[in-house]
Point group: C2
Chain length 243, copies 2
């Protein structure tokens, strides 16, 4: 049993995953070849087109999955947070999008093959990871809806509410406030706007006393109004603990 495997098991048992593991599951997790890694801000963990296949478990920090376009633009697909599982793509084939750190990131890395082998052993783990995959799909769908059918102001508000809900699932929201290391450029690439316009939307949200985002901290002043403005319904984010 390695130290990494031990902290990995503890990670699985804590929020937001909250796994209640039986002894068979514990032993198969303990025998997994896990390594805990730390990445500084703005480091590429896997790039578009790469073949090497690891599974990442976000332990802490903010990640960023995105797609680079030929003209230099990019589209951010999602910002993985604690508990999110990255890299569950098809067994073969190159990676379709890039995964980087935004702020300091701590992850657990597992070779894909070993991970899939473990899933085959435990139907409970396997069904949990299917739920995770399905939730990630819902998140991407919500981002698509955001870009396609909501105004700039609503999009921005929606994103801040999504972060709040997700962070709340593991206790990183306190008094409707949370730390957010994103720049306005990153927000812009996530919701399909220019950074300049994001800036104006932030100002409006601040002046209307709905949310403020300054010095890396977001404070939600009026959750109800924000949810109404942005059509936010947190249903797509629910993910029951592994129990």
């Amino acid at each position: 049993m390695t130290f990494s495997a031990q902290t990995f098991q503890f990670f699985l048992q804590s929020l937001p995953i909250g796994a209640e593991l039986n002894s068979a599951e514990i032993s198969s997790i303990q025998s997994l070849n896990v390594t805990q890694k730390y990445y500084p801000p703005h480091t590429l963990l896997t790039g578009q087109g790469e073949f090497e296949h690891r599974i990442f478990f976000m332990n802490s920090g903010w990640g960023c999955i995105y797609r680079d376009l030929a003209n230099g633009d990019r589209q951010i697909i999602d910002f993985p947070l604690r508990g999110d599982i990255m890299g569950m793509r098809s067994a073969e084939g190159p990676n379709y999008n890039s995964f980087a750190s935004v702020a300091d990131v701590s992850v657990f890395e597992v070779p894909a093959k070993a991970f899939y082998a473990m899933l085959e052993q435990s139907p409970r783990l396997s069904s949990y990871f299917m739920r995770v995959t399905s939730r990630q799909r819902s998140i991407i769908i919500e981002h698509l809806t955001n870009c396609g059918r909501r105004s700039a102001l609503a999009r921005t508000a929606h994103l801040f509410l999504e972060f709040a809900s997700r962070l709340d699932a593991f206790g990183s929201l306190s008094e409707n406030s949370y730390e957010c290391p994103l720049t306005q450029y990153e927000l812009a690439d996530a919701v399909g706007l220019t950074p300049i316009h994001i800036n104006r939307m932030l100002r409006e949200l601040r002046e209307r006393k709905l949310v403020s985002f300054r010095n890396g901290v977001v404070k939600i002043h009026d959750w109800y109004e924000l949810a109404a403005l942005s059509n936010f319904d947190p249903d797509y984010l629910v993910l029951k603990t592994l129990s």
Copy 2:
């Protein structure tokens, strides 16, 4: 062995899935509780919030997965075509989006539980279905990039090229032309524009001799120019046959 199971097996063996099945796989497919169903245009197969859980295999026709918004707008997530597998969501929990037919649709339906049980039996089937899921993720991501970071003209062009590539995988593209039963309203809801603007983009694409879309048939006149204009790279659509 039911008649439906027989035609279902034949469906799996034909393009685009092209499965080469061994006898164990054939017998587990044959014992599956499959029903073949036909739906007229604009019929809801499963709605947002429903709990009943079936897996759908698109046999022919055009489907439509979408999300309804409170204000009456909607965002179309994808148009499933032959070979696409729908409903692979988390084992529990309500359906997060709606699935309807656009034109006449023929599908195979399997109860989710039985289907997952079958996957546990065959690692080859299971890895194939993971690839399918992963490709669907890529498609949604591409739609998100489309909405977030491409112009109206590029979005429209991109969608037509995507259809062409997908249809080509099972021989429904001939001489760069294919049948497309979508209305301009549906195109608009897919790419996040108004139907009026879609109409103008269609006119421009037609006048520039790039694509035409009239009377339910799309004809691609200049694939190369279109791909350049819309930044289209078909990599995200590749899905190896099950062999």
